[in-house]
């Protein structure tokens, strides 16, 4: 049996409330586990002093009774979230030494609910990547291994996925622009939710592509995802795209009851050359939902094929605009200048030195597709294709489909270094997840089986806008039937 750090949020919450354990004990177990796990390189800025201070405060609050579910729960925070007085670098050299003087809305909400932050977690630089290999801190290693080969935990929220899978914290925040929560969750055998666009405030989260970015929970169970999602959600006047609609009590809603509901199986997600294990996983997911009383229907989402290319116009375009702020003036790095260097030289040298190759590549692609003469041909064209992708989903839901089942990823976790030098191949990792961001829908990745090498595989469920509660029920139906309890063997 594992230590306290291997508890789920709901288990820990019950023990904390019953007075069986304290948040300080729980936090110390997580901090000790993280300290032993340097080989994973998942935690890049540990915050043990802050964590213990928050844990003591949580224990005091628990002693008074009526504490929220997240009270005293140790969580890891992706480096993309601004945390006051704690380094927040988006895993980029250009934000070296940046310590925000403010707290992101999501972390503020979590802290108000009594959550404990154990540290900042590794990721791809500015969330641009699918393997955590573009990080200025170096890559994270997946706690799962195939033989002796070191694997990627996926990305961009790879540090979050590895930290949760290795029990370095009970849960973590992630962000998802094209699959950055769901793909690493699948690669690490955990649950990850990308909420409906607008459900969770983006304020204080370092921006990548603002019309696609959405933060969400990465947890050990579906129940934990419900608990943490509720704590993260809600209207925020500081994010103009945040929705002013009530946040349901997701945990109370959670029953796993999906009898009489209809699940769509999109034929376009059956890819040539898809590994047999993924096909089998998808088939077993269909059986599980049928067993739970749902009706399965074949559906068509005709523009699926164009989602990735549309994404690789829209996301870089928005990134080129968002990342224009890194100019060496207001925060972060300024390159050493030669005498006589003017302000333009300062910008160009600072950005050349501070950004990694993938970020430069995307900023320049974005600059190109927005430049005079190409704006209509690329950017506007991609936005029209995006409208068609969104309409595909609207048509399916109008046809009485309640949720859509797909594989989460086209493969299990792959070896580090394998795709690093081929951007387009790396991009293909997001082929099943990116449609959801383009359409602004909620999606969840839930672990559902192991491949022949013993690596975890995830299924994705896609829901209707604002119906995360219903979506979590579908995920719970899978979780209950998949019986996924495998954990990586500790080698680190």
């Amino acid at each position: 049996m594992g230590g306290l750090n291997s508890l789920s949020i709901s288990e820990a919450r019950d023990k904390l409330r019953a007075g069986e354990i304290t948040s300080v004990e729980l936090t110390q177990a997580c901090l000790a586990a993280a300290e032993e796990a340097a080989a994973l390189n998942a935690v890049v800025h540990p915050t043990p002093d802050l964590a213990l201070e928050q844990a003591r405060a949580a224990d005091a609050r628990l002693a008074e009774g009526e504490a929220p579910a997240m009270c005293g729960i140790p969580v890891g925070i992706k480096d993309l979230f601004c945390t006051e007085g704690v380094p927040s670098q988006a895993a980029s050299g250009i934000l070296a030494d940046f310590k925000p003087t403010y707290e992101s809305t999501v972390t503020s909400r979590l802290f108000e609910a009594g959550a404990v932050m154990t540290g900042k977690l590794n990721m791809d630089e500015f969330a641009m990547g699918s393997s955590t290999e573009t990080s200025v801190y170096g890559n994270t290693v997946n706690p799962w291994k195939a033989g002796d080969t070191e694997l990627t935990p996926g990305g961009s929220s790879g540090g979050s996925a590895a930290a949760v899978a290795a029990d370095l914290c009970l849960a973590a925040t992630g962000t998802d622009t094209g699959g950055s929560i769901r793909q690493p969750a699948a690669f690490a055998g955990i649950t990850g939710v990308k909420p409906t666009y607008g459900r969770v405030s983006r304020w204080g989260i370092i921006a990548f592509a603002s019309s696609l970015d959405q933060a969400g929970p990465m947890t050990k169970t579906v129940r934990d995802a419900a608990i943490m999602l509720e704590a993260m959600s809600g209207h925020d006047p500081k994010d103009s795209t945040s929705a002013d609609i009530p946040v349901p009590d997701f945990e109370t809603m959670l029953t796993g009851e999906i009898r009489g509901k209809t699940v769509g199986i999109p034929k376009e997600y059956r890819m040539d050359g898809m590994p047999e294990a993924i096909d089998e996983l998808w088939a077993s997911g269909r059986s599980m939902l049928e067993d739970a009383g749902a009706t399965l229907v074949d559906i068509s989402l005709p523009h699926t094929k164009y989602a990735l290319p549309a994404y690789y116009v829209v996301a870089p375009a928005e990134a080129s605009s968002n990342l224009a702020r890194y100019d060496g003036v207001r925060y972060g790095l300024r390159a050493t200048l030669a005498s006589g260097d003017d302000v333009t030289a300062m910008y160009e040298k600072t950005r050349a030195e501070g950004f990694g190759d993938e970020v430069k590549r995307r900023v320049m692609i974005g600059t190109y597709v927005l430049s005079a003469g190409f704006y209509d041909a690329y950017y506007n064209h991609a936005r029209k294709v995006r409208a068609l992708i969104k309409k595909d989903f609207e048509d399916a839901f109008a046809d009485d489909i309640d949720a859509i089942l797909t594989p989460a990823t086209p493969s299990a976790a792959f070896p580090l270094g394998q795709k690093f030098n081929d951007p387009v191949k790396m991009y293909l990792n997001d082929v099943f997840t990116v449609t959801v961001n383009l359409a602004g829908l909620p999606g969840i990745s839930v672990p559902a089986g192991l491949d022949p090498d013993g690596l975890p595989l995830g299924l994705q469920l896609i829901g209707k806008p604002w119906e995360e509660g219903e979506l979590l029920d579908f995920a719970l139906a899978i979780e209950d039937r998949a019986g996924f309890v495998a954990k990586p063997e500790k080698w680190w």
Partner: protein, 95 residues
């Protein structure tokens, strides 16, 4: 559409990222690989389709046009690479 090293130089300049002359051909070929992938979008008939502008159908909230907050110059400047006397400092801009 194919990008050569001159286009790559122009894009790098627009993006304000210094790229050494000898790295331009490799950069151009990376752009071509990515743009080649994007080219598939041409197959899609987008006649009479409006470009998507907002993800969820909602009207942006209005607020009263008055100053809220402020008076935190110290916090604003706290992370500046160079700040003096309440200002950001940059290389000389005006001769």
């Amino acid at each position: 559409m194919s990008i050569d090293h001159n286009d790559a130089r122009r894009v790098a300049k627009l993006a304000r990222i210094q790229v050494d002359e000898e790295d331009l051909p490799a950069l151009a070929s990376e752009f071509n690989a990515i743009l080649g992938f994007i080219e598939q979008l041409r197959e899609v008939d987008v006649q009479d389709v409006e470009p998507m502008t907002s993800v969820t159908p909602m009207r942006l909230k209005r607020r009263e046009d008055r100053i809220a907050g402020g008076g935190i110059a110290g916090k604003v400047l706290a992370n500046a690479p160079d700040a003096r006397e309440g200002y950001f400092v940059v290389p000389k801009v005006v001769e």
